[in-house]
């Protein structure tokens, strides 16, 4: 072992830590921490309210009934609280929306990132962003007044309220979200990767599909997760155009209520404050949160699995 004796030293004022510099650093750090904590705090508060209001509900309705009963009739004389009747509506409309939005959004992203000229891209992007800004209530009436009547021309038995029309419109609404997030991640793929593919004699399409898409996959998956959350949480479109009748069905041509459209109908004042019906919206809200959360977790795992370094 090597023992070195320590030498006596002093701290010269020049090298000493400066109080003012330290203080400013600390303040900045604290400010940043506060902003980050704020988001966490709000989320926690929301979960707290949902859970605390849902607890009395579950003292009346067993978890088993809640998750297995397929009838949801809180304002009938024979009350049922089977969340599946709402979950089915949420899942069906979400699925239709994704069926529309994922292909369209991905293709749009690929086009904008790999094919469009600078000028075309700069024209299309603002239009897409405009679409993001359209209030959902407008989309709702668009589904009810335009899309459903149009679909009725093809399929005359379609009822005025159905899940297909609003599902499709919801999909259209989500396209720009997917396109924009996926395009950002594709554009972030280094040019060197593209040059490598072109240098091998690849066409634009081959480069886009076989190199850029896999390289950007984690961002693309993130875009899909965002889309799912957006679809699951969408309220106005389905409340307006899908009917608000809870209905345990996965048939897109039937009318149904989703978790969100149920919550909004209660919020609009059908049920009295404080009663079990009122509490049921918190149980429904909690279910919605759990659904979104689990989609996010699955998506996060998928992203990790696909994550590519370059």
């Amino acid at each position: 072992m090597n023992i070195v004796s320590m030498q006596e030293t002093t701290i010269s004022p020049e090298l000493a830590k400066k109080f003012s510099r330290n203080l400013i650093e600390r303040l900045i750090e604290f400010g940043l921490l506060c902003s980050a904590a704020f988001a966490v705090l709000i989320t926690t508060a929301i979960v707290y309210v949902l859970v605390s209001e849902a607890i009395p509900f579950f003292q009346h309705v067993s978890l088993y009934d809640f998750f297995t009963d397929t009838v949801w009739t809180p304002n009938y004389s024979i009350k049922h609280y089977g969340i599946l009747a709402l979950v089915s509506g949420t899942l069906t409309t979400t699925f239709i929306a994704l069926f529309v939005a994922i292909p369209l959004g991905t293709i749009t992203a690929i086009y904008l990132s790999e094919f469009a000229s600078h000028k075309v891209r700069e024209t299309i992007k603002p239009v897409l962003e405009l679409l993001i800004g359209v209030p959902t209530v407008v989309f709702g009436y668009f589904a009810l007044m335009m899309v459903t009547p149009l679909l009725q021309k093809i399929y005359p038995d379609l009822t005025t309220f159905n899940m297909l029309g609003p599902g499709i419109v919801m999909g259209i609404m989500i396209v720009p979200y997917i396109a924009s997030v996926a395009e950002d991640s594709m554009r972030a793929v280094p040019m060197a990767m593209r040059e490598g593919a072109y240098a091998m004699g690849a066409t634009r399409f081959q480069t886009a599909i076989r190199v850029i898409t896999p390289a950007a996959i984690s961002g693309i998956v993130a875009a899909y997760i965002l889309a799912i959350s957006r679809a699951v949480g969408e309220t106005m479109i389905v409340a307006i155009a899908a009917g608000q009748q809870p209905n345990f069905t996965f048939n897109p041509v039937e009318s149904a209520a989703t978790i969100t459209s149920y919550i909004v109908s209660v919020a609009l004042g059908d049920l009295e404050h404080g009663g079990i019906g009122y509490q049921s919206i918190f149980a429904a809200g909690l279910t919605l949160l759990l659904m979104t959360l689990s989609f996010n977790i699955v998506g996060h795992m998928a992203r990790k699995k696909f994550a590519e370094r370059y």
Partner: protein
């Protein structure tokens, strides 16, 4: 048509009065006329920014990827005797025959196997036996086979930098190119990996012609048969590597080589 020089060496391709303009108007090449000999290594040297990469990238029409770039002049590919810069020539066909290895290894986000298979798949090859064979051959050609043969399905990013660069060489080799372009292929690598790549390039010239950009003069001296010295977008001088490094005919070349300048 076969073109030859006075030493009876076959010319594989040559630029004639090549000028190149970037989209912003920068003229990066001025009347460059330079042959690339078959089964020889031609090295491009010169200070940073003198147009070496620009010249190299003209050979596989890389500049076409960016709008507004403009070529003026010819690059003739033999034996076709075709000006590959002609707008009627399909750049994809050119790239199928003239492949390129970049300064920084740029493997695709795929397995080792799929990286090498890429060029073959692009050409429509899907027969598993043919692919297996070609990939083994290319990896052997790039002296990488022994290191990766047991993990062909691993992600290419898990390889070291030097291995990644050899993978990129294997990828370029798999499609049997006639010319290979190297743009400072060892500048991002450590000395041992550099030696590997240099040996590899020397072994490749039996099969193809090589044009390499290097800012490392010793490297040019070690591996190349011909050396061209460029300065400010112009070709100052080109000759046999031995001649350039021992008795260059231009004062500027001598100054650069002896380190008086650059």
């Amino acid at each position: 048509m076969v073109a030859k020089n006075k030493h009876n060496e076959i010319i594989k391709a040559e630029s004639r009065d090549l000028n190149f303009f970037y989209a912003d108007g920068t003229q990066a090449l001025k009347n460059v006329s330079l042959p690339v000999y078959e089964n020889k290594i031609t090295a491009l040297i010169g200070p940073s920014g003198c147009g070496k990469s620009t010249f190299l990238r003209s050979f596989n029409r890389m500049h076409d990827l960016y709008p507004g770039n403009r070529y003026d002049g010819q690059i003739i590919l033999y034996p076709d005797n075709t000006n590959i810069l002609d707008p009627k020539v399909d750049p994809i066909e050119v790239r199928m025959r003239i492949s390129m290895v970049f300064q920084k290894p740029n493997p695709f986000p795929k397995s080792i196997y799929e990286n090498v298979a890429y060029g073959l798949r692009v050409r429509g090859e899907s027969n598993a036996r043919v692919l297996d064979e070609k990939i083994e051959e290319a990896l052997k050609g790039a002296s990488l086979w022994d290191e990766v043969k047991d993990r062909l399905q691993d992600l290419a990013f898990n390889l070291s930098g030097g291995q990644q660069q050899r993978l990129c060489i294997a990828r370029a080799l798999a499609t049997d190119p006639e010319i290979m372009l190297f743009d400072e292929p060892t500048s991002a690598l450590d000395p041992i990996a550099t030696v590997n790549i240099e040996e590899l390039m020397s072994s490749l010239k039996d099969k193809l012609s090589i044009l390499i950009v290097t800012h490392n003069m010793q490297q040019a001296a070690r591996i190349s048969d011909y050396t061209a010295y460029m300065y400010l977008g112009e070709l100052v001088e080109h000759d046999k590597t031995g001649t350039i490094f021992t008795k260059p005919s231009k004062k500027e070349t001598e100054d650069y080589i002896t380190g008086k300048f650059g």
